[in-house]
Amino acid sequence: MNIRYFGLEMSRQLRNARSLIFTFAVPVAMLLIFGSTYGAQYDSAAHLQWIIVTTVQMGAYGAMMAALAQAFTIVNERSVGWNRQLRITPLSGTGYMITKVSSALAVGLLSIIVVFAVSILALHAHLPVQGWIMAGLGLWVGIIPFALIAILIGQFAKPSFAQPLFMVTFLGLAMLGGLWVPLDILPTWVGNVAQAAPSYWLNKLGQMGAGLTGNIGTPTIVLGAWSLVLAALITWRYRRDSARA
């Protein structure tokens, strides 16, 4: 792994992050609406205050969106031929993947920090410092599989197809993760399917972090399994993706 390339790539991504303001704005707006409405109530299922549950939800939502949006960057880069250019450099498939995941993590972290800051400053949400840190950390690490999904979409999709594919993936994952509406108001089978969705466990991981309780074994296994399978697909695809379009 090459530190200098990594740095240049990261600064390039963060300059693009200005265009991600909209990505940050949606979860913040939803947080302000829902948080101030039900904030003080207590969620007995998560053993957390509603405001905290909503903050974690919106943090997960924003971070997931930031990570998945990498797909557009990659599709654009690929369509202009940048990936072909990269193929004639020493950058390996793994190196490429690590760089792209790191970019997603950087933007995702920014989104998490913004949502938490708004929650603390505007809605006066209260958690012990370790609670915030662990919740943020859980969400942050938890978006790795989403960054990998973005890379995979970026590798497969044609530019015209990326937008609908992103929307379907994003909306599906947001719903299954219970990031919009609580899963218990949806049919039971949706709840069952959700158990396999990375977004569901992303949300859970954030809640466990916030409550400083719970067994992180299951989320780690599910998110880890997703990451492994996706990484294998990406590496396989990268080796085949060099031919001219």
Partner: protein, 308 residues
């Protein structure tokens, strides 16, 4: 350490379904050679370039750069390339693009030096999206040389360039080859191949059909073209004039290919004093190219010169 050829292709074959894009290509290029790869569209030039860089896997045969796997030459920065369908990021500046690739290589030139060599130093802060066709190609050339390669592969480097841009591009290329480096370039411009390369490889339908110096390749079509206007011409008797190898009639315009244009001309004037608008031109690279790649000619499989 023995001197390995810069490129060695052995029985290289690539099939896409039923289409054989590259068909049993054998080619060895020594360090220091400047080789033009010519051929009509679909001849297999770009696929050959993809294969020799390891960007596509051969169906059969192998490609080696400096005696090793192509990927090894790429990782060690010994090969740089300007590829078709490979481009720079529109939102970055020229300097940023070069710096990104620069950062990936182990022993690169400085970014400044690469820009200097490609003649893009004055464009450093310009966005890639704002470059003209010629400026873009020079920026890509800077990216190709930043690893300080021993071998450059250029796929139609002067496409989308105007005459002046082509001229300055070849000037910077000459500086590169003057350092004893190897260059392989694919082109549609026969005059570029003629004036710049010291070896020309012509491909057609996935095969190498000619391989030699420019003069060897041109010698496929010897002699000159004699053309004139003549009413009520008798093609059969014109064909029998001294030195004539081929006759073509377009209305009352007669075009003769001759091995001895002086003798043909004397016989023509003696036998056909009414012939007017007489022109004699040497046959050129285009004729050689057409003769070698033309679909109708059986001489299309002819091999010339130095083909191993």
């Amino acid at each position: 350490m023995t001197r390995q050829p810069a490129i060695r292709l052995t029985g290289l074959t690539k099939k896409f379904g039923t289409l054989t894009a590259v068909n049993d290509v054998h080619l060895t290029i020594q360090p220091g050679e400047v080789v033009a790869l010519l051929g009509p569209n679909g001849a297999g030039k770009s696929t050959t370039i993809d294969l020799l860089l390891g960007l596509a896997r051969p169906t059969d045969g192998s490609a080696e750069l400096f005696g090793e796997d192509p990927r090894h030459a790429i990782v060690t920065g010994r090969v740089g390339a300007m590829l078709q369908g490979g481009a720079l990021l529109p939102t970055t500046t020229v300097r940023e693009s070069i710096a990104l690739i620069h950062a990936l290589h182990k022993h690169p030139l400085s970014v400044e030096e690469a820009m200097e060599r490609a003649g893009v130093a004055d464009l450093a802060k310009q966005k890639i999206a704002s470059l003209s066709g010629g400026q873009m190609q020079r920026a890509r050339f800077a990216v190709a040389v930043v690893s300080n390669p021993d071998l450059l592969i250029l796929d139609e480097p002067t496409a989308a360039m105007d005459v002046a841009a082509r001229h300055s591009f070849w000037a910077s290329m000459r500086e590169f080859t003057d350092r004893g480096k190897t260059v392989v370039f694919a082109t549609h411009y026969l005059d570029e191949a003629d004036t710049f390369a010291d070896r020309i490889v012509i491909m057609s339908q996935g095969r190498i059909i000619a391989d030699g110096t420019p003069s060897e390749v041109k010698s496929v079509v010897t002699g000159r073209t004699v053309s004139f206007t003549l009413d009520s011409a008798d093609a059969a008797s014109l064909q029998r004039l001294v030195g004539v190898t081929h006759l073509e009639q377009r209305g009352n315009r007669i075009i003769l290919q001759s091995e001895d244009s002086d003798a043909t001309l004397r016989a023509l004037l003696a036998g056909y004093p009414s012939a007017t608008d007489i022109e004699i031109v040497p046959r050129n690279m285009d004729d050689a190219f057409m003769a070698l790649t033309g679909p109708s000619t059986s001489s299309g499989t002819e091999k010339t010169g130095a083909s191993k």
